[in-house]
């Protein structure tokens, strides 16, 4: 099909869905499903004014801090577990257990131990990111091709160069994939951590709006979270394109198929 026809064809379903929603919402006048105009107004009111500094920024700050700490610690730990057999033997099973333990069950426990402040929120985000990155980095380090480790040894490349120029890039497909999964997990945990006993943050505002019957505001929260999820995911596609895809180590995500 021609390019223009292809684009048109792709637009049919999304446009149809949006129009159908608008028509249905306008007709039904169900408070649960406000029309798009009302959602847009609520969006502006909730997030673009003072709400931005009061709710959006703290959420993003916690997310960023927790995510970065989790990734850095996870990669560091993964390098150790991947290269040192004894450490792997000692800790791999524990890490596997922590990985499968859903963070959500830790959340109430974290609230008891740490309260509902930033420390708890960042803590649970770190947990959700750390083990995913740790386990996958470990796997990536253990899967480094022996040809590469041979090159490092034969040319007597020192430990620092060997780590940053040989081993980490070789494990990059594992690390990047894990970091991507971890980011969705982190967004989920961020929202979740704000739904327990907090007044600030995107998740808190959204859940409180629902409890206060302010459904347009609740929708505005859902739209913002959806947008964030989408943007982070898109940002990751760019990271992949300029690293592992460019190096020919994994196939490009093409039309977003991953």
């Amino acid at each position: 099909m021609s390019r223009a026809a292809g684009l048109l064809w792709q637009a049919v379903l999304p446009a149809g869905l949006i129009v159908a929603y608008e028509l249905a919402a306008g007709r039904a006048r169900n408070p649960y499903f406000p029309v798009l105009g009302d959602i847009a107004t609520a969006f502006r009111a909730a997030w673009l004014g003072p709400g931005f500094t009061e709710h959006v920024l703290p959420s993003i700050a916690n997310l960023t801090a927790g995510y970065l700490i989790g990734v850095v610690a996870g990669v560091g730990g993964g390098v150790l577990l991947g290269r040192a057999r004894v450490l792997h033997g000692l800790f791999a099973p524990l890490a596997g257990f922590c990985l499968t333990l859903p963070v959500v069950v830790l959340l109430p426990l974290a609230v008891v131990a740490l309260g509902v402040g930033s420390a708890m929120r960042i803590g649970v985000i770190v947990y959700s990111v750390f083990f995913v990155v740790l386990v996958n980095t470990t796997a990536g380090m253990r899967a480094v091709d022996t040809s590469l480790t041979d090159v490092g040894a034969a040319y007597r490349i020192g430990p620092v160069r060997r780590l940053f120029l040989l081993l980490l890039p070789a494990a990059a497909p594992y690390i990047v994939a894990a970091a991507r999964v971890a980011l969705s997990a982190a967004v989920l945990v961020m929202v979740l951590s704000e739904m327990v006993g907090a007044q600030h943050g995107i998740g808190a505002v959204t859940l409180l709006a629902q409890q206060d019957f302010r459904y347009d505001r609740m929708w505005a929260g859902m739209v913002l979270l959806a947008l964030l999820g989408y943007l982070f995911n898109a940002a990751f596609a760019v990271v992949e394109r300029f690293t592992v895809v460019r190096w020919g180590m994994v196939a490009g995500t093409g039309e977003g198929v991953s």
Partner: protein
């Protein structure tokens, strides 16, 4: 050989010892974290309690239903999208837009409309698992080796034979892997639904324990949930091995 079994035991024993020592010595206050021994005592108690097994049954039922519904929709649709560019192009934008949305996002609305309960949990699980399953299946069906397809065509296999004997088996490993990931997600989402949405299950038992200030019980439930997660992962890893062994 001995070292391979010794080290993990040492690691677990070390972590357990650390937990017990930190809580016994009051380095960590017992009002923040209970001792390991009291937690394990409650685990033993839980395993003999009917309430616990009812809760576990609820969680597993939601998990299985959510996963089943997702798979029943995503796999055939993904199959169609993988086999036909037209289908893929048609659903592409909504799928790509909806996929990165964490299931927690639709929680407030779902809570409103479905009022907690089983359909609520299943809907959340679907948001978490349907899109990745759909996309992975599409990818799996689409990346089948062209030589295999050409071979099938050159022997003039009919459409349905190509589907049953060539495309489906060839896509199986990717689909199995996607199912394994979806199973883990579904378990976590089921617990989210129970904890935040109040649906019956392990998550709700945990909330009750926390509200009753029964920390050892809460920790025991968390430990058991972790073991459940591991068992589910193990089952799907086994399935994956079986599939891998056929090629």
């Amino acid at each position: 050989m001995a070292r391979r079994t010794m080290l993990p035991v040492l690691g677990v024993a070390g972590a357990a010892g650390l937990w017990e020592a930190a809580t016994r010595s009051r380095l960590v206050s017992p009002t923040d974290v209970p001792t390991l021994s009291s937690t394990l005592a409650v685990v033993a108690e839980l395993l003999g309690s009917a309430t616990f097994w009812a809760g576990a049954g609820d969680t597993v039922r939601s998990w299985a239903l959510g996963l089943l519904v997702s798979a029943a929709i995503a796999i055939p649709l993904g199959y169609a999208a993988g086999a036909s560019r037209w289908v893929w192009q048609f659903v592409r934008i909504p799928v790509e837009a909806l996929r990165p949305i964490p299931p927690i996002v639709i929680l407030p609305l779902a809570l409103l409309v479905l009022r907690g309960g089983s359909p609520f949990t299943i809907l959340l699980i679907m948001q978490g698992t349907l899109w990745p399953l759909l996309i992975q299946t599409t990818y799996g069906v689409r990346t089948i080796d062209a030589v295999v397809l050409d071979t099938a065509r050159s022997y003039r296999l009919g459409w349905w034979r190509r589907v049953i004997f060539v495309r489906l088996p060839a896509a199986l490993p990717i689909v199995t892997n996607a199912l394994k990931l979806a199973a883990a997600t579904a378990f976590a989402v089921a617990l989210v639904a129970e904890l935040v949405g109040g649906a019956p299950g392990l998550g709700q038992l945990l909330v009750v324990a926390i509200n009753g200030n029964d920390l050892p019980r809460a920790y025991a439930l968390a430990v058991v949930a972790g073991v459940f997660g591991m068992l589910l992962a193990a089952v799907f890893t086994l399935l994956q091995r079986r599939v891998a062994a056929t090629r």
